[in-house]
C-alpha cells in the first residue's frame, strides 16, 4: 500500500470513506455478536430484539458499500493496490454481513431456549468460550484490515483451526449428553445451532483475513494448504 | 475583485473596439494607396499606348518609324530566353534544395552554404551580368546569344528556386517522411515518391515567381550585350537557312536576340516622342505577361494543393 496521495484528492476521499464505512459496519457486527453472547450466557431475551434490528443497519451498510465500490470501479478504473482494496472490500462486506446473520441466529436460538424455560446446560459453557474466541478473531481481522497488517491477518487464519477443534469437541459432548438424557434433546439441538453459528463466525473472520492478505500482499491464499499461508 | 457590471464590460469592449476600428481605417488607407499607384501606372500605359494595340504591333519587327515598329522579335526573344532559363534553373535549383534538405548533414559547411544562398538572392543583377559576360560570353564562347542570356538569368533566379524548394520541402510533415522510411524505403525512394511530388506546388510557385522576375530583368541582359535592334527571328529548327543549309535543332540557342525590357528601354531612349507610345504599349504587354505568369502560378498551386492533404 502506498502512502502517497492520488493526483485526484477526490479519489483519496472516496477510498478513505469506503474504508471507514467498512470499519463502521464491522463495529456493528461486533456489537451484535457480543450482545448475542451476553444474551446467551445471562439469559437476556430482551436484547434479542435489538440484535435483530441492528442486522437491518448492517444490511443497509452492505448495500451502500457495494454501491460505492461499483461507483469507484466505474469512475476511477482502480488498478493494483486500489483495485485490490475495492475488490477486497466488496468481499469483506459479504462476510461481515453473513457474520451479522449468524449473530441474529444465535440471538433467536437464545430466545427459543429461554422462552422454553430451559437454562443452558453446563455443557453449553464451552459455547461461550469459543464464541469469545470467534469474536476475538473477527475483531483482529478488522484490526488487520484497518492497519493493513497481513501478519496479524495470518494469525487470525491460523486461530480458526482452534475454533474448529473446539466446535467438534462441543458437538461430541452434546451428543453424549443427549444420549444420556433424551429430555435435553430440544435444548441441545438449539445449542448445537448456536455453536454452529459461532463456528461460522470464525470462518467469516478467517475469510476476511484472507481478503486482507490479498489487499495487502496481492496473494490469494484461499483454498490452499496451510503451509502456503504464512 | 468585484465582478464587472454589464455596463462596465460594455465600456471596456467599446474602448478596445475603438483601436480595432482605427487600425482597420489605417490599413484600408495604406492598401488603397498601393492599389491606386498600380492602377494609375497601368491606366497610364493603356491610355498612352492604346493606339498601338493592333495585331501589327505584335507581328512587326523593330523599325525606324514608330508607327510601323512592333515587338515580334522582343516577345519571341523573351519566351526563348525564359525557356532556357527554366530548363537550366529548375533542375539545378530543385536538386540543390533537395540535397540540402534531405541529404546534407548539418555542419559548418552546410551552414555556410545556406547563408550564401540567401546572400546570392541579394546580389545586384548587374553583377550577374558582369559574371556572365566573362564566363558565358567569352570563356565558353556562347557569344551574345539566347543561351548566354538564359543561363545568366538562370543564375539570377537559382537562389529563389533553391529557397522556395527548401521551404516547400520543410512544409511536408516529418511524419510523412518517417512513414515512408518506416516501410523500408531509401532516401531517394522517399524523395521520388513523396518529397518531390508533395513539394511540387511550392516549387512551381517559386519557379514562376523567379521567371516573372527574370522576364523583367534588363541590366544583366544589356551587360552581356543583347542587341537592341533586331529584324529577324532565331532560326526555327530544321528550317532552311541561307546558303542552302538547314538550321540545326539547337541553332536558335546561339542566335542574337532582344527581349521585351530592352526593346522598351530602347524606345524610351529615342528622341522621337512617338516611340514613347510604343514603349507604353510594350510596357503594358510585359506587365500582362508577368501578371498572367503569376496567375498561372496561383492557379496551379491551388489545383495541386487541393489533392495534397495531411
Amino acid at each position: 500500500m502506498s502512502e502517497n496521495n492520488h493526483l485526484s484528492s477526490q479519489f483519496d476521499d472516496d477510498l478513505s470513506r469506503l474504508r471507514s464505512h467498512v470499519l463502521q459496519m464491522g463495529g456493528l457486527v461486533e456489537t451484535q455478536i457480543s450482545a448475542a453472547i451476553e444474551a446467551y450466557s445471562r439469559g437476556e431475551v430482551a436484547s434479542v430484539k435489538h440484535i435483530v434490528e441492528t442486522d437491518r443497519k448492517v444490511n443497509d451498510l452492505e448495500v451502500a458499500i457495494d454501491d460505492d465500490c461499483a461507483h469507484i470501479i466505474a469512475k476511477r478504473q482502480p488498478a493494483a493496490s486500489d483495485l485490490r482494496m475495492v475488490f477486497g472490500i466488496s468481499k469483506i462486506v459479504t462476510d461481515l454481513e453473513r457474520a451479522g446473520d449468524e449473530a441474529k441466529k444465535i440471538a433467536k436460538g437464545v430466545r427459543r431456549i429461554y422462552e422454553a424455560g430451559q437454562m443452558p446446560s453446563q455443557y453449553g459453557i464451552g459455547v461461550r468460550h469459543i464464541a469469545e474466541a470467534a469474536l476475538a478473531m473477527l475483531r483482529q481481522s478488522l484490526d488487520a484490515f484497518a492497519r493493513l497488517d497481513s501478519p496479524l491477518a495470518i494469525k487470525v487464519i491460523q486461530a480458526d483451526v482452534d475454533v474448529d477443534v473446539e466446535f467438534k469437541s462441543i458437538m461430541r459432548q452434546l451428543i453424549t449428553h443427549m444420549m444420556e438424557d433424551p429430555r435435553t434433546i430440544t435444548t441441545s439441538i438449539d445449542i448445537i445451532w448456536i455453536a454452529r453459528a459461532v463456528e461460522r463466525i470464525g470462518d467469516h473472520a478467517k475469510n476476511i483475513s484472507e481478503h486482507v492478505v490479498f489487499i495487502v500482499d496481492g496473494r490469494d491464499i484461499r483454498h490452499q494448504p496451510k503451509e502456503n499461508k504464512a | 475583485m468585484k465582478p464587472l457590471t454589464t455596463e462596465e464590460i460594455r465600456a471596456v469592449i467599446a474602448k478596445g473596439k475603438f483601436y480595432d476600428n482605427l487600425f482597420k481605417a489605417v490599413g484600408v488607407f495604406c492598401l488603397a494607396f498601393a492599389l491606386l499607384v498600380i492602377v494609375a501606372l497601368i491606366a497610364d500605359m493603356v491610355i498612352k499606348g492604346s493606339e498601338r494595340f493592333t495585331l501589327d504591333f505584335f507581328f512587326n519587327f523593330a523599325s525606324r518609324r514608330a508607327t510601323e515598329a512592333g515587338i515580334l522579335s522582343a516577345w519571341v526573344g523573351s519566351l526563348l530566353v525564359m525557356l532556357v532559363t527554366a530548363m537550366a534553373a529548375v533542375p539545378l535549383g530543385v536538386a540543390a534544395g533537395l540535397y540540402l534538405e534531405e541529404y546534407a548533414k548539418r555542419n559548418l559547411l552546410t551552414n555556410i552554404i545556406e547563408v550564401n544562398i540567401t546572400n546570392l538572392a541579394a546580389v545586384p543583377s548587374i553583377v550577374y551580368g558582369l559574371l556572365a559576360l566573362g564566363i558565358f560570353v567569352y570563356q565558353f564562347g556562347f557569344g551574345q546569344s539566347i543561351l548566354s542570356a538564359g543561363l545568366t538569368l538562370a543564375l539570377l533566379i537559382l537562389p529563389i528556386i533553391i529557397v522556395s524548394t527548401r521551404e516547400a520541402i520543410r512544409a511536408i510533415p516529418a511524419m510523412i517522411r518517417e512513414g515512408s522510411m518506416a516501410v523500408g524505403a531509401t532516401r531517394w525512394q522517399t524523395c521520388r515518391f513523396h518529397i518531390i511530388p508533395y513539394a511540387m506546388p511550392g516549387i512551381l510557385t517559386g519557379v514562376i515567381i523567379g521567371l516573372a522576375r527574370a522576364i523583367g530583368e534588363t541590366a544583366p541582359i544589356i551587360t552581356i550585350g543583347a542587341l537592341t535592334f533586331i529584324a529577324f527571328l532565331p532560326p526555327v529548327p530544321f528550317s532552311a537557312a541561307d546558303a542552302g543549309t538547314t538550321a540545326g535543332l539547337f541553332d536558335w540557342l546561339l542566335s542574337p536576340f532582344t527581349v521585351m525590357p530592352i526593346q522598351i528601354f530602347n524606345w524610351t531612349s529615342r528622341p522621337d516622342p512617338a516611340f514613347e507610345v510604343n514603349a507604353a504599349a510594350a510596357g503594358f504587354v510585359l506587365m500582362v505577361m508577368v501578371l498572367s505568369m503569376n496567375a498561372v502560378a496561383i492557379y496551379l498551386r491551388y489545383q495541386m494543393r487541393k489533392k495534397i492533404k495531411w
Partner: protein, 263 residues
C-alpha cells in the same frame, strides 16, 4: 497465484534489449535497458511523458538514424537469426523492412488508398499488378478495413476518417509481412469507438505478428497486452505479465504510476 487466465507456456523470444543506452547528443535518454520481447505476444510500454518509451520503441526500427546526433549503445537482438538490430554492419533499411511501424497520428500519404498500401511493396521493387492487388487486399483485410474501402481504392486516403486512416496505416505496415509491429500511441488521436476497433485489431494481429505498443492509456495497456513494461526517466523499472503488473506490481514506483499517485 496461478490461474487459468495466465500464460502457462514459456513463450519464445522474438527480440531482446541488452544493456541498451541511447543518447540524443549529450543527453542520455535510455539507461541500461534489458528486456525481452516475446514472439506473437503484445508487449506494452507505459510510463509518464518523457520517460523514454517512444525513444525505446523507435530504437527497434532505427528511426533515430534519420536525425543527426543520435547514438546507441548496447544491442537489440532479433530472433530467430540473432541479428543485432543496432549493429554497425546492419543497414537500418534492412531493419525497417523486417519491422513495421504505426505512428501516433495517422499518417497516410496524400495518395490513393491503394497506393498507400502498395507503397511498401513498390519500395521492394514489386511491379506485377496482380501481385500488388492481391497483397493490398490481403493487408486491408488483415487491418479490418477491407469492407469499408474495397469500393474506394482509387480515392485519396486523407479523405478517410481518423480511425480508418489509422487502420489504413496498419494495413500499409502489414502489406510487407513484418515480423515485429511497433505501435507508437496508435489511438491517442482517435475517439473511443475508433480506439476500440484498433484494440480489437491488435488482439487479432497477435496471432500473426509480435507487437510492441507504447501507450499513455494504462487501461489500454491492461486490455491489449500480455506483457507490460513500466519505464521512468529512461529506465526500465519493471517488466512482467500484464495481469501481475496491474494487480500486484513489485516496484513501488510502478504501483504509484498505475494507481495515479505520480507527481
Amino acid at each position: 497465484m496461478e490461474s487459468p487466465m495466465q500464460i502457462q507456456e514459456t513463450p519464445t523470444l522474438k527480440a531482446e534489449a541488452r544493456n541498451l543506452n541511447f543518447f540524443y547528443g549529450e543527453n542520455k535518454a535510455l539507461r541500461n535497458i534489458n528486456m525481452p520481447i516475446y514472439d506473437k505476444k503484445v508487449t506494452a510500454l507505459i510510463g509518464p511523458s518523457g520517460c523514454g518509451k517512444s525513444t525505446y520503441l523507435r530504437s527497434f526500427n532505427r528511426m533515430h538514424d534519420l536525425y543527426p546526433g543520435n547514438r546507441y549503445e548496447g544491442e537489440i537482438r532479433f530472433f530467430p537469426d540473432n541479428t543485432n538490430l543496432l549493429g554497425a554492419d546492419v543497414d537500418p533499411i534492412e531493419v525497417r523492412m523486417r519491422i513495421g511501424m504505426v505512428f501516433q497520428k495517422p499518417n497516410p500519404f496524400p495518395k490513393t488508398i491503394f497506393e498507400n498500401v502498395a507503397y511498401g511493396l513498390r519500395v521492394r521493387g514489386e511491379t506485377n499488378k496482380r501481385v500488388l492487388e492481391d497483397k493490398v487486399e490481403h493487408a486491408l483485410k488483415g487491418a479490418a478495413i477491407w469492407e469499408e474501402v474495397k469500393d474506394r481504392l482509387p480515392e485519396q486516403a486523407p479523405n478517410l476518417s481518423g480511425g480508418q486512416q489509422q487502420r489504413l496505416c496498419i494495413a500499409r505496415a502489414l502489406a510487407t509481412d513484418p515480423e515485429l509491429l511497433l505501435f507508437d500511441e496508435p489511438t491517442s488521436a482517435l475517439d473511443p469507438i475508433a480506439t476500440g476497433a484498433i484494440e480489437e485489431l491488435i488482439h487479432e494481429l497477435k496471432k500473426r505478428v509480435t507487437i510492441l505498443i507504447v501507450t499513455h492509456n494504462m487501461q489500454q495497456a491492461a486490455r491489449v497486452s500480455d506483457y507490460t513494461a513500466y519505464m521512468y526517466l529512461g529506465e526500465m523499472i519493471e517488466f512482467g505479465k500484464t495481469d501481475e503488473i496491474f494487480i500486484k506490481p513489485q516496484d513501488k514506483r510502478t504501483e504509484d504510476y498505475i494507481t495515479g499517485r505520480m507527481g
